[in-house]
C-alpha cells in the first residue's frame, strides 16, 4: 500500500484510532495480530505526509505515534524465557487492540444510529391535539436543565453589554450622577426641563437612586437647579439654572478629591 492511496482521507481522520483502524481494515490485517513494525511505519509516513501538506494534526496523533514506537520496541526486546515461564508478559499490543476494537464498535453504532435517524426522518406525524386543547393556555417553554443554564448565560451576557453605570452599581457615585444629569440636560436641549420621576425610574439600584438624589440636592443648594411642579400632585420636573454647568463642574472636582 502506497502512502498516496490514503492521503485523500487526510483530513477525515478525527483521531489516531480512526487512522489506525483504517490502515488495518484496508489491508485486511488480523487485528489480533497486528504487524506493529509495518503499521508504525505507515502511521509515521502518514504523519510526515500531513506535515508536508501543512495539515495540523492534533496532539493525540503524536501521542499515538509514541505509543506505537513504544510497543514496537517492547516487542523487539528479547524476553528471558525463564522469566516468561514464571511471569508471562501480556502482549504489549493488547491494550491498543482493545481500544481499537472498542472504537470500531462505536463507529458501527454511530452508523446504526444514522440509519435509524434516516428512517425516522422519513416519517411524519400529524397530531391533532391542538383542537382539543384549551386555547387560553399560555404557550410557554418546555424547559430542561440545559435551557436553565443557557438562559442564565444569556442573562449574564446581556448584563455585560449594558451601560457601565447601571451594571457596576458599587462604582456609582454622586459625581457620576452629576455627570449623568449633565448629559441628560444636554440631550434635553432647549427645554431645560427633565422629569424627576423618569430619572429615578431609570435607576436600577438603590445606591444609584440615593446618589442621584444627593446630586440633585447639591445642585439645588447651589441654585444651579430648581424643582418645579406644574400643578399640585403633578409631576416634579428638574429645571436647569444658569450656573448649572459651572456648579456641576465644581462639585465634581471637590467630590472627586474625596474619593
Amino acid at each position: 500500500m502506497s502512502s498516496s492511496s490514503w492521503n485523500v482521507h487526510l483530513d477525515q481522520y478525527e483521531g489516531p484510532l480512526d487512522l489506525l483502524l483504517d490502515l488495518i481494515r484496508k489491508q485486511q490485517i488480523d487485528i489480533h495480530n497486528i504487524p506493529i513494525a509495518q503499521i508504525t511505519h505507515q502511521y509515521c509516513a502518514f504523519m510526515e505526509e500531513a506535515a508536508s501538506l501543512d495539515i495540523e494534526l492534533s496532539a493525540e496523533f503524536v501521542y499515538m505515534a509514541a505509543t506505537l514506537i513504544h510497543i514496537k520496541s517492547k516487542l523487539l526486546l528479547p524476553r528471558d524465557p525463564e522469566l516468561e515461564k514464571i511471569d508471562p508478559e501480556e502482549d504489549p499490543r493488547r491494550e491498543l487492540v482493545d481500544r481499537l476494537l472498542e472504537h470500531e464498535r462505536f463507529r458501527n453504532a454511530a452508523e446504526m444510529l444514522q440509519q435509524k435517524r434516516m428512517i425516522e426522518e422519513a416519517t411524519w406525524s400529524n397530531p391533532q391535539i391542538q383542537s382539543f386543547l384549551d386555547q387560553a393556555e399560555d404557550p410557554g417553554l418546555d424547559v430542561t436543565l440545559v435551557d436553565l443554564v443557557n438562559t442564565f448565560q444569556t442573562v449574564l451576557e446581556r448584563l455585560k453589554s449594558r451601560p457601565a453605570y447601571s451594571v457596576e452599581r458599587e462604582e456609582v457615585s454622586v459625581p457620576d450622577m452629576i455627570r449623568h444629569l449633565r448629559s441628560v440636560f444636554a440631550a434635553a436641549g432647549k427645554t431645560d426641563r427633565v422629569s424627576a420621576a423618569k430619572l429615578f425610574e431609570a435607576q436600577r439600584s438603590k445606591r444609584a437612586m440615593i446618589c442621584l438624589f444627593l446630586a440633585i440636592l447639591e445642585l439645588v443648594k447651589r441654585q444651579a437647579l430648581s424643582l418645579v411642579q406644574g400643578d399640585s400632585f403633578g409631576d416634579i420636573d428638574l429645571r436647569r439654572g444658569d450656573g448649572f454647568d459651572q456648579a456641576a463642574e465644581e462639585i465634581q472636582e471637590t467630590e472627586e478629591e474625596y474619593r
Binding site: 492534533s58 496532539a59 493525540e60 501521542y63 472498542e102 464498535r105 411524519w124 400529524n126 391533532q128 391535539i129 382539543f132 386543547l133 399560555d138 404557550p139 410557554g140 417553554l141 418546555d142 424547559v143 430542561t144 436543565l145 435551557d147 436553565l148 443554564v149 443557557n150 438562559t151 442564565f152 448565560q153 444569556t154 442573562v155 449574564l156 446581556r158 448584563l159 449594558r162 447601571s166 452599581r169 436600577r204 439600584s205 438603590k206
Partner: protein, 218 residues
C-alpha cells in the same frame, strides 16, 4: 354498506385487493393523514401521477375500511376533499385524556430567566434579580412561587429588609437534580462551548476512571 361487504366479507382473497391497488391505497392514506386541509382526488392523482379513477377507487376503499366497527378514526369527504379525523363519539374520552396528561413544565422566557438567576445566585432578593436581569418582570416571582419552584428564605439584612428567594425541592425534582451542587457551573458549560479543549488532560489520565466502568452496557 354494500361496498363494505363487497370489500370485506365477500372478497378476502381476490376481489378486495383487485379493486384497489394496495400500494396506492397506502400512499393515499398517508397523504390524507398528513394534510390538514381536505385533499381532493384530483390533487392526489396529479401529485402521485396516477389515473384519477385509481385514486378515487383507493379513496373509496379507504373510506369503507375506516368505516368498519372498532375504528376510532374516520376518513371521509368534507368540502370536496378527503380528510381523516377522530369520530365524534369518542370526543368526550379524548378530552378526558387530554386533561389527564400532566403537561410538561412550561415557563415563559421571563420566568425561566428569573428562575435561572435564583438558581445560581440564591438566596437572592427581588431587587438583585432585577439588577441582574435588567428587565422589569412583574408577576414572574409569583408564578414561580405558585408553581413551587421557588420559596422565600428569610430577609436580607439591608435597608428595607427585602425578602430572599431560593429554589425548592420541587425545582430539583423538575430538573432532575439530587441537590443544588449538581447544577452545572457556568464554567463547565463554557468549556463545552469551546470546540477543542486545550490538552489539559494528558490522554492517558482519565483511563483510570474509565476503567472503573467497563461493566456498562457493553
Amino acid at each position: 354498506m354494500e361496498e363494505m361487504l363487497n370489500l370485506d366479507g365477500a372478497a378476502p382473497a381476490t376481489q378486495g385487493e383487485s379493486d384497489s391497488d394496495p400500494a396506492l391505497k397506502a400512499v393515499v392514506e398517508a397523504v390524507v393523514y398528513i394534510t390538514d386541509e381536505p385533499v381532493t382526488a384530483s390533487q392526489l392523482a396529479l401529485a402521485l401521477a396516477r389515473p384519477l379513477e385509481d385514486v378515487q377507487k383507493a379513496l373509496a376503499t379507504l373510506a369503507a375500511e375506516y368505516d368498519l366497527p372498532g375504528r376510532g378514526l374516520s376518513l371521509r369527504e368534507v368540502a370536496g376533499g378527503y380528510k381523516i379525523s377522530t369520530r365524534p363519539e369518542y370526543h368526550e374520552e379524548i378530552r378526558a385524556f387530554v386533561k389527564s396528561i400532566k403537561p410538561p413544565l412550561k415557563l415563559s422566557l421571563a420566568a425561566l430567566e428569573t428562575l435561572a438567576v435564583i438558581a445560581y445566585k440564591q438566596p437572592i432578593t427581588a431587587p438583585e434579580i432585577l439588577e441582574i436581569r435588567g428587565v422589569q418582570g412583574a408577576g414572574v416571582l409569583k408564578t414561580l412561587l405558585d408553581r413551587r419552584l421557588i420559596t422565600t428564605s428569610g430577609r436580607k439584612a439591608v435597608i428595607g429588609k427585602p425578602i430572599l428567594y431560593r429554589t425548592t425541592k420541587d425545582f430539583l425534582l423538575q430538573f432532575g437534580l439530587r441537590d443544588i451542587a449538581e447544577l452545572p457551573t457556568l464554567k463547565e458549560f463554557e468549556e463545552l462551548r469551546r470546540l477543542a479543549l486545550p490538552d489539559e488532560e494528558p490522554l492517558g489520565m482519565p483511563a483510570a476512571t474509565a476503567e472503573e466502568e467497563p461493566s456498562g452496557h457493553a
